[in-house]
Symmetry: C2
Subunit: 345 residues, 2 copies
DNA sequence: TTCAAAATTGCAACCGATTGTGTAATTTAT
DNA sequence: ATAAATTACACAATCGGTTGCAATTTTGAA
């Protein structure tokens, strides 16, 4: 495999009867090399099809121009948007991306972190798995002062920055909206609340209830894996409740959609019988009938912000420990699925 | 940035009073190193937190254990599924992923190819941009015998393998299905037919018409960028047709959905007035009302197959030039959006 | 013409790991 | 007990590029 001669700066040097040093400097536009020589080097390099060896350079410079990304899943609308955003921002600055998915397993997450470390990524962007209990598997990075930025699914750590939305506030707004629509019995479908995003959304949900003097009921919280199928499952649980709840606030859209479809099949009317609010503003929210009220939360932007911050740390513009948390805007988008009162909002 | 001592095999060697050679071999489980020594090395390496330097190794071995991926967009359901599949297969075999998106621009595609080449990826997995005219920007790879595998959006080349579905056949089946449902005037919404996928789907569409003695009409083909918005635009064009078409075959689901939603808003009934078939089996097909008939086309599997083949080339199991094309299964999934005749199929 | 200052370029060590070849130590066979 | 065969480890070169410092050449003013 992979034969055919590799063109190196030594080959160029030999052909030009100069030293590899000069070639190296010429290629980097170093000021101590004369214009004529630079031109000769550049021309021959082009002609010979020279391509710099990233590894040799990384080895010497201790800098790889590569950013590692670890996410729970690659194939969700939100995550792929984030990654697209990261890719754009990183590419602009000449960084490459090394990507791995943890598949929601903290074990795989740790393994990926090791691989990334071995690959000497300059920095790491991470969204944690459902069950990651602590940040022990990133300690190598912290020790070596390699910046690690967490986004969306985060965890507090003195040496790293978190980028996310105000999940508590967003959930508060979502729940309040349902209450304002006349709902009193509101079910919350979410994931295990170990992860900040779900814990905070639950908190916001509770706070809204409390503010409107509605008693929180443990059995109104349904814990799932938030898949569409899980939403259909949750529908069964909901159908057994007597009386039926008047509203459902789901911690993501696909789960909300799964639940809505299952309920509709059983003849439940949405929003008349049960109003729905989701989370994420996935494309599917504008397709389902009725369109789903949700929290808009632009993944692409989060990705860009995360990448830009990481790169600004790397170029020494700012330091990781100086920024603790970055909160991005989120917004409640009201659609038909939650409008019990015509003309409201 | 990134200070703190780096632990190398030399540090381990010094502490153990042996040579770096022995440490290196011990870590690789080389047979000429005694069990005792290996144990000592492994223990100390663990204790000192030694992590192999990927670059030094790559530089020496001329092998990076990294696969490059270039796709038009990361944030589509299909592509992120493919990538998830690639990630799984690659990770199993100890390969890392370097990922870039071309944003449908052949210029960015070429730039990414250069970066990948500089990073000395062991192989490349590519899905081409809309407008890529030829494979010139991959010539470096071909010259050096670095395997390049194209998937989905492919182009013929003697030195590379293509992995895709039989788009012509799938489109033929989709169109025939519409015809069997009683449609005669069938609109085809697609993208510029420079790319194989769209060219072949158009061909299948034409063949089905021809087989049923339906005259092909140029004005029944609508060229778009296949976004959901483009689907809504296409709906306007369709509404101007007199008489209205009886069926629409769209080259992807999101475009079909955009079109359906826009038509429904104008009071068109689906499938009674116009039947719909999409392509891809995106999650949204099971959400829209009525559920969308489509071609199922498992991205995850394509990713796995592509990665496994690439890796088998890399490990010398097979050679690129021996396999030309791999066709994966696709399947027409009939749902309510196309069922004009009750009880059919 | 002369010599120091400025402009160019080269030498050689280094980044961390791998490996062909050689040598010393130990074991086996006779 | 001694030659022969293993076993266990080390030397030194190598992968391709970078960089501090020395060396050489050019320039220019005296």
């Amino acid at each position: 495999m992979a034969n055919a001669k590799e063109v190196t700066i030594y080959d160029i040097a030999k052909r030009l009867n100069i030293s590899a040093t000069t070639v190296s400097r010429g290629l980097q536009d170093h000021p101590t090399i004369s214009g004529k020589t630079k031109k000769k080097i550049a021309d021959l390099a082009e002609q010979m099809g020279y391509r710099s060896n990233h590894f040799a350079r990384s080895l010497r410079n201790q800098k790889t121009n590569t950013i590692g990304i670890i996410v729970p899943r690659l194939n969700s609308h939100f995550m792929s948007s984030v990654i697209a955003g990261i890719e754009e921002a990183a590419n602009e600055q000449g960084y490459s991306l090394l990507i791995a998915q943890s598949s929601e397993s903290s074990v795989k997450e740790a393994a990926s972190a090791r691989t990334m470390f071995d690959s000497r990524v300059d920095g790491l962007l991470v969204s944690l798995a459902f069950d990651t209990p602590d940040l022990g598997h990133f300690s190598h990075f912290f020790k070596k002062d390699i910046p690690v930025i967490f986004f969306d699914r985060v965890m507090e750590h003195e040496n790293s920055t978190n980028i996310l939305i105000d999940n508590r506030q967003a959930a508060f707004n979502a729940t309040r909206h349902l209450i304002e629509q006349g709902c009193r019995r509101i079910v919350h479908i979410t994931a295990p609340t170990l992860r900040n995003v779900y814990k905070d959304r639950l908190k916001g949900y509770k706070e809204a209830l409390s503010q409107y003097k509605i008693k929180f009921r443990e059995d109104h919280v349904i814990i799932t894996d938030l898949s569409q199928e899980a939403g259909a499952e949750a529908a069964k649980t909901i159908l057994k409740m007597k009386p039926l709840p008047e509203g459902v606030f789901a911690a993501n859209d696909s789960c909300a959609v799964g639940c809505m479809l299952a309920l509709k099949e059983r003849g439940i009317r949405i929003p008349e019988d049960i109003a729905f609010v989701g989370f994420n503003n996935d494309p599917v929210t504008g397709v389902i009938d009725p369109h789903l009220t949700t929290i808009s939360y632009r993944g692409y932007e989060i990705g860009q912000v995360a990448a830009r911050h990481l790169i600004s740390y790397l170029s020494g513009t700012s330091h990781v420990s100086s920024t603790n948390t970055i909160i991005l805007r989120s917004e409640l988008i009201v659609r038909a699925s939650s409008l019990k009162k015509a003309g409201n909002k």
